[in-house]
Symmetry: C2
Subunit: 198 residues, 2 copies
Amino acid sequence: MSKDLPLLVSAPAERRDAARNRRALLDAAAELMGGCGAEALTMDAVAARAGVGKGTVFRRFGSREGLMASLLNHREEEWQAAVISGPPPLGPGAEPMDRLLAFGASRLRLHLDQGALIEAAGRTWGENYAVLGFASMHVRILLGLLGVEGNLPYLATAIIAPLGIPVLRQQIDHGGMTEEQVLAGWSELVQRIVKGTP
Amino acid sequence: MSKDLPLLVSAPAERRDAARNRRALLDAAAELMGGCGAEALTMDAVAARAGVGKGTVFRRFGSREGLMASLLNHREEEWQAAVISGPPPLGPGAEPMDRLLAFGASRLRLHLDQGALIEAAGRTWGENYAVLGFASMHVRILLGLLGVEGNLPYLATAIIAPLGIPVLRQQIDHGGMTEEQVLAGWSELVQRIVKGTP
DNA sequence: GGGCTAAACGGACCGTGGTCCGCTTTCATT
DNA sequence: AATGAAAGCGGACCACGGTCCGTTTAGCCC
């Protein structure tokens, strides 16, 4: 039997008890979330439910926001995988504009689904460069394929911005729009930006 | 001498000690902010500095975020006044497109100036309908004057979204853009949206 | 297996945001 | 000026996020 090679993994691998506790904590957090919502979730409760001390929770996740961000991470990874190698039109194989519109619809749903969690994760998630960077790069590439010229990095972030939770909340809760209207508005926005190429 | 009529004011007027304490608290908060930044400001410190009890702070402002939002309110009101009746191109008198571009530049600066405070105020400020609603209505009207057709309410919020602090932080801190590049990108975005009218 | 080291653990402890309730002040009315 | 009621006040109190450090445990080398 060959020993596993360490490959190029620089992370020195987690100790087994640490890994077990991390999973126990994520499971406990998910269960408590399902029962009471993100707002009411306390770190003491998570620790107790997982059968570990509170210090362990903070050692693993750094902060309450970090724990929330870890919960979000699962869904985000699935979503990124769907973009990279899932079925069209979100994944490869469809026309760029169809992929772009599918991106918006999918991202919109994801954000609305996870809204409470995203808000609870605050800046730890919101400033997660890996997440923002991936979406931004994807949109930027699609815009390039569509023949859009100009400041693509900026346009990409500007196209993604109205899909953020605070904007969606304003439009839906205060502006009286439905989810469908928001998506239709976003699609129109994208068409205009693509069309407006001088 | 005629007694002041109550007019149509529904607010039953603040008692004099309450008004005095409110100003003292806002002044104290502003001073402490200047000294240590928004992050380090504690409610106990504000109360002590203003010479009142902590309960009074929460009675006036509801929460820490509420206090931050009240501090922001001054600047916001000045800004709204400048839009409504200040000198062009931000105020009335300039061409719609010039006003729109001036709006973006002015809003961008305002947000960057008050970034720390805005983040400290969190949702209490971010979901302030009066603020979002004013900006959104203003942009919507300008778009109308520019002959843009379509879902103006949506387009207005989408144009404002990339001027939000989280997006600006991403672009400037992680994306390597300068303030000038962001403003140039936003101007380009607006031109495209206006031009893209079918 | 024995022993060594670094990592992980846990829960007592602390600071801060937020609440509560008995006491004080304002002010309208007479 | 006296008075009554409502608004305001203050600081003891609580809950929760986050830290710290003495103790335990996993994993490795002999």
